[in-house]
Amino acid sequence: MSEDHHIIPIWFFVGFLLLVYGFLILVSGLAEWSHPPNTVLAELHAPVWWGGLLVVLGLIYCLKYYPRGES
């Protein structure tokens, strides 16, 4: 983002946040697979596919905007 300041791009932080949150949500969704929470449409296992989506997007952002060789 910054030419003058060489700041780590905001998109890297976005990717890191999505990756960590996606991992946590995915793991908690897998852990509760056999005994889903008492929510409407729990049988769809939303945490698993939503968490998976966040992991994929987070990885893409982290890899694309990883700060290489800049302070």
Partner: protein, 564 residues
């Protein structure tokens, strides 16, 4: 913490939810400390170095307005008024954003102003600028306090957290990261918040649509549960005041909201304009609000649709906050209720973090705008005219902390007088509508004089305060100003904005005709007739802001037809 959560609450958090919330606090603090090294000069601290890309500035621009008060409030309004609430996201935002990008941004950008009061200083002089700066500084601090209190109340109702705990933890976090990185920190946090809000809230409409069987299934359920009431059309029910739950006529939406209130907010409220001023060049500054307009158009998906789905699927009927009885829920609780309905551990933490992030971004936006206006538009012109850049940066950092402390005081004040919240938000609106008249006339008509700018702004603001007071003291004034006794709060606000802007324009024109204009040489780069706006001859049509502005307007029209 466990004791706090023992109270009856809307949702209950698990360990993974708490980890998700704690991680967010740690990340924003770490980013704030990381960015401190880059915020050394005034331009860095107050305008993020003027080097943001169009995408970052555009997302920050739209995010600065996407706070949690906004999310909870408009989801509640969608439950209360139906899809009419989407007008505030479409006609009440998109034309104004495109207008800012195409017409107004070149003047803000070419004049190299730090703020909207800074533009008024250049165009009119210190009287109009001082009035604008002082009012804006007071309002931002009040709004920051209101935001803080609202967050504490939501955390208490939704999670059972102690109000003092929420106020102090959130404000200390915001204070540390904004004082460290200035507008850099505020913008980074706003972009993070944008993603959090989308990924935290988007599951609600997805799962809601699956549960109801799609749009038609949802509409059928609403008609079945609320027969004879209209919640799912945008324009058809506005042929008369009596046909819609808001008590508004289409003229109020088109002229009051679209032409005045929205134009005023999106083009002259410095909180949002400051984000665009951080853009790295003119083309980015013009593109930023237009990029923001596409995201703004999509926001009803995560705000208005959950409110409508609440009508269709929630087993209980929500009520206004003023009529709340034990065991009932208010309109404003529809979003947390829908979150709790569909989201289990993990997803719930994400949704709550999105709300917390929205509140904190709201506070950060207000205090960073306050620090800029105080330092550049009050302290520098009126208190200490000559000082080093480092002195002004230090003043900005101290202002951030002092502003937050005053905001905390405001939050406790609001706690004792809960109804003040409504009044403070109305107060904020008093100033925006007339300011739009002052700024627009100043940009488009070179004859407008220094005295006219001040007296027009003052008359517009006072007329707005007067109308509001009269309508609150005596309900019969509602039919005079809002044209119908049926007009509800939002409808009253729209007509109040319209008349205050008209008052400002009329007074400005009259005073202009009897006072002496500034010479042309002092207005170069500030008014349309005397400014050479750089043309983008070498840019392909795909990179021209005007093309994307036109696309945004076409999409807006199509949406109106679909939901007519």
């Amino acid at each position: 913490m466990i004791a706090m959560m023992a109270a009856p609450t809307l949702v209950h958090l698990s360990a993974v939810d708490l980890v998700i919330i704690a991680f967010y606090f740690l990340l924003v603090l770490a980013i704030g400390f990381y960015l401190k090294r880059f915020a050394k000069t005034g331009e860095d601290f107050f305008l993020a170095g003027r080097e943001m890309t169009a995408w970052v500035a555009g997302l920050a621009f739209v995010s600065a307005n996407l706070g949690s008060l906004e999310l909870l409030g408009w989801a509640g309004s969608a439950y209360q008024y139906g899809i009419l609430a989407a007008h505030w996201y479409w006609i009440g935002a998109i034309p104004a954003m495109v207008f800012l990008g195409i017409v107004m941004m070149p003047f803000y950008y070419i004049s190299k102003t730090h703020s909207v009061p800074g533009y008024l200083q250049l165009r009119y002089g210190s009287e109009a600028s001082g009035l604008s700066a002082i009012t804006f500084a007071v309002m931002t601090i009040l709004m920051s306090g209101v935001n803080m209190y609202a967050m504490a109340v939501v955390m208490k109702v939704v999670l059972g957290w102690d109000i003092n705990f929420s106020i102090w933890v959130s404000s200390l976090t915001v204070g540390v990261y904004v004082a460290a990185g200035g507008l850099f920190s505020a913008i980074f946090n706003e972009v993070l918040q944008f993603f959090l809000i989308w990924f935290g809230a988007l599951l609600i409409p997805i799962l809601g649509m699956i549960e109801t069987g799609g749009w038609h299934g949802m509409v059928a359920r609403i008609h079945q549960d609320f027969p004879g009431q209209e919640f799912t059309h945008m324009w058809a029910p506005m042929r008369s005041f009596a046909d819609n739950p808001m008590g508004i006529h289409w003229t109020g939406i088109v002229f009051g909201l679209g032409a005045v209130q929205a134009m005023g907010y999106w083009t002259t409220d410095f909180l949002v304009v400051q984000r665009v001023l951080s853009a790295k060049d003119m083309r980015s500054a013009k593109m930023a609000p237009i990029i923001g307009s596409f995201f703004k158009m999509a926001v009803p998906l995560i705000v208005i649709l959950p409110g409508l789905l609440g009508r269709a699927v929630l087993p209980m009927h929500l009520v206004p906050a003023s009529d709340l009885q034990p065991g009932q829920h208010s309109f404003n609780e529809v979003l947390p209720l829908m979150l709790g309905r569909y989201c289990g551990p993990g997803l719930l933490g994400l949704g709550i973090t999105a709300l917390v992030a929205g509140f904190m971004a709201g506070m950060a936006g207000n205090v960073s705008a306050f620090a800029t206006v105080w330092t550049y538009d009050i302290y520098r012109p009126f208190i200490r005219k000559t000082a080093t850049d480092q002195h002004y940066v230090a003043m900005g950092r101290w202002c951030t902390l002092i502003g937050l402390i005053v905001s905390i005081g405001t939050a406790y004040l609001v706690m004792n007088f809960a109804s003040i919240m409504d009044y403070v938000q109305a107060l904020f609106g008093f100033f925006i509508a007339p300011l739009f008249g002052t700024v627009l006339l100043g940009m488009l008509w070179k004859r407008v004089t220094r005295a006219a700018g001040f007296w027009g702004l003052l008359a517009g603001t006072l007329s707005s305060v007067g109308m509001f007071t009269l309508m609150k003291l005596d309900r019969s004034w509602v039919s005079v100003f809002a044209l119908s006794p049926r007009a509800q709060g939002l409808a009253q606000d729209m007509y109040q904005a319209l008349w205050s802007c008209v008052t400002c324009v009329v007074v400005t024109v009259l005073v202009t005709l009897v006072t002496k204009p500034k010479p042309d040489r002092e207005l170069k780069g500030l008014v349309y007739a005397l400014t050479e706006v750089p043309r983008e001859e070498h840019a392909s049509w795909l990179h021209k802001p005007v093309v994307w502005g036109a696309v945004a307007l076409v999409v807006l029209v199509v949406l109106q037809i679909i939901f007519w």
